[in-house]
Subunit: 63 residues, 3 copies
């Protein structure tokens, strides 16, 4: 029996970085104080603030 899996999920952390779990790729980030963001190394969100960071992570293009 296969386990149900989510195609997309979010991870949150305090500070400037949030990481996606293994097998997921970061597709966007949301930042406290509405700061600008970038994605590093495919699975890490980096927000230009010291508040909180959220990563939206999806399983795509797995082969």
């Amino acid at each position: 029996m296969e386990k149900a899996t989510k195609s997309c999920t979010s991870t949150n952390s305090s500070g400037s970085y949030a990481n996606c779990q293994s097998g997921y790729l970061a597709v966007s980030c949301s930042c406290g104080n509405s700061a600008s963001w970038e994605i590093k190394s495919e699975k890490t969100c980096h927000c230009a603030n010291q508040d909180w960071t959220s990563a939206r992570c999806c399983k795509i293009g797995k082969k």
Copy 2:
């Protein structure tokens, strides 16, 4: 003959919430006044404002 379908599409609404259509998952949100956002229940964008909300919605990981 199959209908052409879009892999990603956007939905917009006034206020703090925007929903993806059936079969699509929310991958990111854009908010009026550049507010911070979160994704609820896989397909709903929630912006921390009362202005407008846009959801970017894609078909991924369908099985």
Copy 3:
């Protein structure tokens, strides 16, 4: 032997627009000055500023 390909990648440019490469779809945008954004014609990020624009681009739903 297949070439390794990235499922998602980012493109950056100065000004209000950033385009995804051929074969990629825009899934989110990040903007200088934390401006609001929209996606035009599937693969172009448009930020409401004159600073810089980044597009997050993924290969999804290719058929």
